[in-house]
Amino acid sequence: MNPQEETFYVAPRDLTRPQFPTLADIGLKFQAGAWIFFSFGVLFLVIGGVANPAQGWANVLITAFNLTAVGLGGLFLLAIQSITGARWSDPILKAHRAMPALLPFAGLMMLLLWFGAGHLYPWSRPEAHHDHLMAGRHAWLNKPFFFARILLFFSLWILVGRRLVNKGKGAAAFILVFGLTFTLANFDWIMSLEPAWYSTIFAVYGFSGMFLQGIAIVTVSAIVLRHVGLLPEVSRAQNHDLGKLLFAFSCFWAYIWLSQFLLIWYANIPEETAPMRILLRLPWAPLFYLNLILNFLLPFVLLLGRKAKTNENILIATCATLLVGRWVDLYLNVMPAVLKGATPSFGVAEVGGILLQFCLGHMACWPVFMKDANPDQELPQRP
C-alpha cells in the first residue's frame, strides 16, 4: 500500500451517529455486567453458606457493613461540607451524592441476618439465656429489639440523608443522628459478635474506618469520572485535598487502632485480651499485621510527599490498598468471633460477598448518578 495514501486515509463514518458510546450505552453495558456479577455473588454466597453457614452469614454481615460504611461515608462527607460551607469539593459532589443510594440495599441485607443471627450472635442462641455473662445484656441484645434497631437506624439514615442529598438541608441533624446511631450500630453489629468482650472506643474505631473508606471511594470515583471526562472541573487542587484527607484519616485510623490495642495489650485483663490473643497467634497473625500495613503503613509511605498527593496513579493505588485494607479490617473484626478460633479462610463466600459489593455499588449508585448527567453524552468527551 502506498504509505502516503494510508496517511491521508480517513475511514468512512456515519457522522449522524455518535462516535463514542454514550452514557446510556455504557450504563446498559454495566447493568448487564452488574446483574451477572450479582447472580454470581448470590450463588457463591449461597454455596459458601451451605458449606459453612457461619461463614456465609458472616460474609453477608461484612458485605452489608461495608455497603453501609460507603453510604454513610458519602453522607457524612456531604454533611460536613454542607456545615462548613466548603467549596473545594463542589466539583466532586456528584460522587458523594450517589453513595447514600447504597443504604437501602445494605439495610435489606442487614435485615436478612434475621435468619442467620443464630450462627453469628451468641446472644441470640437459646442457650445464651443460661449464660450468667449475658444475664444483664438480654434487655438490649435480643432478636426483636436488635432488628427493630436496624430498621430504625436505616430509616433514619435514609430519611435524613435523602433530605441532605436532595435539598442540601439538615446536615447538622444528620451529624447528630449519625453520631448516635452509628455508635450503636457498631456496638450492635460487630462488637456483640463477642458479647462478653467490650471496648468503649470501638465505635470511634468503626467511624475512623468508615470515614477513610468513604474518602477512598470518593477519590477513586472523582479520578475515574475525570478520566472519562465527566468531571471536567476536578483539578490537581482537588486531588491534593483528597490526598491530604486520605493521608490524615489513614493516620487517624492508626491512632484509634492503637488507642484500642495498646490499652488491651498493656492492661492484659483476661476478658479483654481473649479475642486479641487469637489475632496475635499464628494462623491470624499475618492478617493482623497485613491490616496495619494496608490501612496505615503503605498509605502513609505512599502519600507522604506533596507530589504523591496530586499524582492520580499513586492516589488510585493508595485507595485500592485502603479498600482492601478496610475489608481485611472488617474481616478481622468479624471472623475470629464467628469461626471460634478456626483458621482464617478465603473461600467461595468471601468471593461472593466482594462481588456483591461491587455490583450493588454499581446498581445502586449509577441511576442516581445518571439523574444529573446527560444520557446522550459521549464518553470520552471530545476535546
Partner: protein, 401 residues
C-alpha cells in the same frame, strides 16, 4: 508620600476587598510582565500559588528531616532507658515493649517536626524579632487582601497604579523603602537605655536562679512561714541520741519478773536443757474436754501444717513437696519422750529442723498441745506398730520423673 528608588525598580502596593479581586490583579500584573513580590491575605486564597507561579516549598524536606530526627531520638531514648540502661520489667511485657513506645515516639516526632519546620521557616525567610516592621498597608494584617509588586522596568508606575485601581484596588501607593533595608543594622544602632535594661534581664534572672538553686536546706535562708517549714523532728528509724548505742527501747534489766503473768520458764534452748525439762516438768493441765479442745485447736493451727492432722506427717508440704521429714509424732520414739521434753521442743525447737514456737504459742497452750498429742498417740496406738510412717497418699503423678 516620598518615594525612594529601589535597587531593583519601583514598587507598588494595592489593597483589595475580595480574594477574587486580588487573584485577578495578580494574574493581570504577571501577564504584563510585572513582578508580584508577595500577597498578604487573611486566609489562603485558592489558586494563588498557581497565579504567582510559586515554586513548591522546600520546607517539607526540613519537616521530614526533623520528624525522622524526633522518631530516632524517641526510639533511642526509650529503648536505651528501658531495655539497656535500667532494665525493668513492667507488667510482664518485654523490655523493649514497642507498642508502649508508640505514643511517646509519635509525640516526639510530631513535636520536632512541627518546631523544626517553624524554625526552618524563620531561618529561610529571615524572620527574626524586630523592633519595627514595614508598614505595608493598615489592612494587611486585618481583613484586606494586599499585594506588593515591582513594576517592569521601563513602564510607568502611574499607569500600572491606574490599572490596579480599575481592577478594584484601593490604597494604591508607591512603596517607600522599607526600614529594614536601612544602612545601619540592628547591631550597629546606638543603644538606648531600654537596651541596657533588656540586657540586664537575663543577668538578673541568672543571679536570681543562682540564689534559689544554691539554697542550703540545713539552714533557714528566708522564712516567710514563721519557721513552720523547718521544724526539728526525728526521722523514723533514726538512731536515738539519748540512749547509748542509739537504741530507742531499753531491754528490761536482768532478772526482771513480770508483775502479772507467768514466772520465767527457767529453761534455755539446747539438748541438755530439753532432757532436764523432761525430767523436771509436769504437765500442769488435766486431760479435760476443754483443755483437749483447746489443744486440738492450737495443734491444728500451728503444728498440723508439717506434722499432719493425726501426727503422722500426712501434710501436703511433706507428702507432695517433700520439703523435709519431721519426726512422726505418733511414732514410738516420740511416745516414749516425757511431757516436759515435748513441751521444751515446742518452745525452743527440735534437735534438727523444727523452730521453736515459744514466741507464737502461749505457755498454757503449749501444755495443752502436749495434752492433745498424747490423745493422738493413744488413738494411733491400736494400729499395727509401724505403718503410719508417711502413707504414700496419692503421690503426685508429675513429681517422680
Amino acid at each position: 508620600m516620598a518615594s525612594t528608588e529601589f535597587l531593583h525598580g519601583t514598587r507598588l502596593r494595592a489593597a483589595f476587598d475580595s480574594p477574587e479581586g486580588i487573584l485577578a490583579a495578580v494574574r493581570a500584573l504577571r501577564a504584563e510582565g510585572h513582578r508580584v513580590l508577595d500577597t498578604y491575605t487573611p486566609f489562603p486564597v485558592h489558586g494563588m500559588d498557581e497565579a504567582m507561579e510559586l515554586r513548591p516549598s522546600r520546607l517539607p524536606r526540613a519537616c521530614l528531616g526533623f520528624g525522622l530526627l524526633g522518631l530516632a531520638l524517641a526510639v533511642a531514648l526509650q529503648v536505651w532507658t528501658s531495655a539497656f540502661d535500667y532494665p525493668l520489667r513492667v507488667g510482664g511485657k518485654p523490655l523493649a515493649a514497642i507498642p508502649a513506645f508508640i505514643p511517646v515516639t509519635f509525640e516526639l516526632t510530631v513535636l520536632l517536626a512541627g518546631l523544626g519546620v517553624v524554625a526552618s521557616l524563620f531561618v529561610v525567610a529571615g524572620l527574626r524579632p524586630r523592633f519595627r516592621v514595614p508598614d505595608l498597608h493598615p489592612g494587611a494584617n486585618d481583613d484586606r487582601f494586599v499585594l506588593a509588586c515591582e513594576v517592569l522596568a521601563g513602564s510607568n508606575p502611574e499607569d500600572v497604579a491606574t490599572r490596579l485601581e480599575g481592577m478594584g484596588a484601593t490604597g494604591v501607593a508607591l512603596l517607600v523603602d522599607d526600614r529594614l533595608a536601612r544602612a545601619d543594622s540592628f547591631w550597629e544602632r546606638k543603644a538606648g537605655p531600654g537596651i541596657y535594661l533588656l540586657a540586664a534581664l537575663p543577668a538578673a534572672a541568672v543571679l536570681g536562679l543562682l540564689a534559689l538553686l544554691n539554697r542550703d536546706y540545713h539552714f533557714r535562708n528566708l522564712s516567710w512561714d514563721g519557721g513552720m517549714g523547718a521544724q526539728v523532728s526525728a526521722a523514723s528509724f533514726d538512731a536515738s541520741g539519748v540512749l547509748p548505742g542509739g537504741t530507742v527501747l531499753q531491754p528490761p534489766p536482768r532478772g526482771t519478773v513480770p508483775r502479772d503473768g507467768l514466772a520465767p520458764l527457767g529453761f534455755g534452748p539446747g539438748k541438755e536443757e530439753a532432757a532436764r525439762a523432761g525430767r523436771e516438768l509436769q504437765n500442769p493441765f488435766q486431760p479435760t474436754q476443754a483443755n483437749f479442745n483447746r489443744g486440738r485447736q492450737v495443734y491444728e493451727r500451728a503444728c498440723a501444717a508439717c506434722h499432719g492432722k493425726d501426727g503422722d506427717n500426712n501434710a501436703p508440704i511433706v507428702t507432695e513437696r517433700k520439703a523435709f521429714s519431721p519426726s512422726i509424732l505418733v511414732s514410738k520414739k516420740v511416745v516414749d519422750q516425757p511431757d516436759g521434753y515435748l513441751f521444751h521442743v515446742a518452745t525452743f525447737g527440735g534437735p534438727e529442723k523444727m523452730r521453736g514456737l515459744g514466741d507464737l504459742i502461749g505457755r498454757e497452750d503449749r501444755w495443752k498441745v502436749v495434752l492433745y498429742l498424747r490423745e493422738l498417740q493413744k488413738a494411733a496406738a491400736p494400729r499395727p506398730p509401724s505403718p503410719p510412717a508417711a502413707p504414700p497418699a496419692a503421690p503426685a503423678p508429675g513429681a517422680k520423673p
